[in-house]
């Protein structure tokens, strides 16, 4: 904000005309207000959720809440361990299933595909990223669940069904970001590898992918963020039983789906427990964002 230097934009603008300067200042303030409102909204949501969730610590006990194994409204018992495990199982399985597929797609798009093929595959992947999650849920409950029910003789709800639905959902996110990471590797590095006599495959897995490692991990973390927070699609295929699942084909429940199931009628401590669960999800996503930031600092 020093206007003693002749070539600062503000100084120059002031020389141009008074009204231009005012306009510029107004626009600058507008953009600042936009950004500020965003920060304010996040802060307000955080405080609201925290405020609504706090009684769980004072009235119920954090240990009983996080470590309790029974979620039962009628018994007034709100232990979220089965739901935590559920969220973890669902997310991890989807990542294990989706990551190889996504990174493979990214490598194909950035290293192997001819421009023509790329022109078809890339928009398809991007389109997949834009499909609303409830559509995936529909696909999951109508088609996938019925197939799983036939194959396994169970109801078709469960971890495996949710893995497949979630994997399809997170592949576009991870693939698009990984591809960006791969393409940001300078061409010279590939040329150097070829010059050493390496084949294309050797160049990909020994040079390009390791060089883009941090960017790919970034992509996977963001995919994980999407998976852990996903609600509608998961709600329709997990079966919503708040227990440790007996098998990967047995109904289970996650934190997000339990919030949606219970919110319409929750009162008192039950409602508080749901807010506390929301706060935990908030903390998880903050941790994920923090780790992404840390990684990009590492990359720089």
């Amino acid at each position: 904000m020093s206007d003693n230097t002749q070539d600062s934009p503000r100084g120059t603008l002031q020389l141009v005309s008074r009204s231009t300067y005012v306009k510029e200042w107004l626009l600058k303030s507008l953009f600042f207000a936009c950004a500020f409102m965003f920060v304010l909204a996040v802060a307000l949501i955080f405080f609201f959720v925290g405020w609504k969730a706090w009684p769980i610590v004072t009235q119920y006990g954090l240990g009983k809440f996080v470590g309790g194994t029974t979620w039962s409204v009628s018994k007034n018992s709100f232990g979220i361990l089965p739901l935590l495990v559920g969220s973890f199982v669902v997310t991890l399985g989807a990542l294990l299933l989706g990551t190889p597929l996504a990174v493979g797609t990214a490598v194909f798009l950035s290293e192997v595909a001819s421009p023509k093929v790329r022109a078809i595959v890339r928009p398809a992947v991007e389109l997949l990223a834009g499909v609303p999650s409830v559509v995936y849920g529909f696909f999951g409950i109508i088609l996938l669940r019925a197939i799983m029910a036939k194959l396994t003789g169970t109801l078709g709800f469960g971890a495996v069904t949710s893995w497949i639905v979630l994997a399809i959902m997170i592949v576009p996110t991870i693939a698009a970001l990984s591809e960006d990471a791969l393409r940001s590797i300078p061409e010279g590095i590939r040329e150097a590898s070829y010059a050493m006599g390496a084949t294309q495959w050797q160049t990909i897995y020994k040079v390009v992918v390791p060089a883009a490692k941090i960017g790919i991990i970034d992509a996977i973390i963001l995919g994980m963020g999407r998976a852990i927070g996903e609600t509608m699609a998961v709600l329709m295929v997990v079966g919503n039983a708040p227990v440790f699942p007996k098998s990967v084909f047995a109904p289970l429940s996650t934190m997000t789906t339990q919030i949606v199931m219970d919110m319409p009628y929750a009162v008192g401590l039950h409602r508080t427990a749901l807010f506390a669960m929301a706060a935990m999800l908030f903390i998880f996503s903050m941790l994920l964002v923090a780790s992404v930031r840390l990684l990009s600092r590492l990359r720089d």
Binding site: S72, A241, P251
Partner: protein, 281 residues
């Protein structure tokens, strides 16, 4: 697409209630009745609302199904004019000052896949199945196949009524799949050979779907309309309209309309329920 009614309803409430409740409460409320609650009562409330709006242009009856507990919560909080419930009020809800108008009788049918050879169970077997004690169909005279339990969410009046009549003090097996709507339970049970669930008897054979389920006899009695009306079928309950204080104005007009012969003998019977005057004998 009945199984999505609850999801749709969440969206509808967000879209419909925000402008009405938020921006112009006083003005719109006089010609709008908001009906919220049980998914079992949804067909009665929806179809009679349609007829009611045809007969009374300029009025609006908004119907949603989120479960009985949600309906009771909504009407006592004032976000709905009528809360619909497929269960009786719990003791702690008696203090909310709600006025109960029974609108129909209904049985709860226990349903299985049509592939399942079992045709009937007694109440004790049902209790053991839904509490997780009996886990294989061979224990109740069926094939050697694991029993897959399908339960309703805790907001459901059907669940509450089933629990009260069948389960007694025993709790439901927490490993059961929990589904948020009557239609979804029906759809899932129809397509899974080992599944068992319970839904309103009015929903066993609705006209809008081609997937079939089999309703079991309970204690040897089939959930037919006659058996439910005569209370021979053991799992029956009342369906309620709840209002905060005696209904007034348009709300009263709508409640009276639902109780009129036209609706009772028309919509209520068509939907597979028992008119309130004939039930509970």
């Amino acid at each position: 697409m009945h199984q999505t009614s609850r999801l749709l309803v969440v969206a509808l409430i967000l879209f419909a209630l925000v402008p009405i409740g938020g921006c112009s409460r006083g003005r719109v409320a006089s010609n709008t009745v908001i009906v919220s609650g049980s998914t079992t009562i949804l067909p009665i409330a929806e179809q009679s609302a349609e007829e009611f709006m045809k007969a009374n242009p300029d009025t609006q009856v908004l119907v949603s199904g989120l479960g009985s507990s949600a309906g009771i919560e909504a009407v006592s909080a004032g976000t709905a004019n009528i809360g619909t419930s497929s269960r009786d009020l719990k003791p702690e809800e008696g203090k909310l000052g709600l006025v109960d108008t029974p609108i129909a009788y209904d049985g709860i049918a226990v349903i299985v896949s049509p592939e399942n050879p079992v045709n009937g169970l007694n109440k004790e077997q049902l209790q053991k199945i839904f509490s997780g004690e009996i886990t294989n169909w061979s224990e109740v005279g069926g094939e050697n196949r694991p029993i897959e339990l399908v339960n309703r969410d805790e907001a459901s009046g059907t669940r509450e009524a089933f629990k009260k009549i069948v389960m007694g003090d025993l709790g439901f097996d927490p490993n059961a799949a929990v589904l948020p709507g009557t239609g979804q339970v029906r759809d899932v049970v129809a397509r899974a050979a080992g599944a068992i669930g319970y839904i309103s008897a009015g929903f066993v054979a609705p006209r809008f779907t081609d997937v079939t389920v089999k309703a079991l006899k309970v204690d040897g009695v089939a959930p037919t309309e006659e058996n439910i009306a005569s209370s021979a079928y053991p799992i029956g309950r009342k369906l309620h309209f709840l209002t905060k204080g005696e209904p007034t104005g348009l709300t009263k007009k709508y409640v009276d309309y639902v109780l009129s012969d036209a609706v009772q003998q028309g919509v209520v019977v068509d939907a597979g329920f028992i008119p309130v005057a004939e039930g509970g004998k």
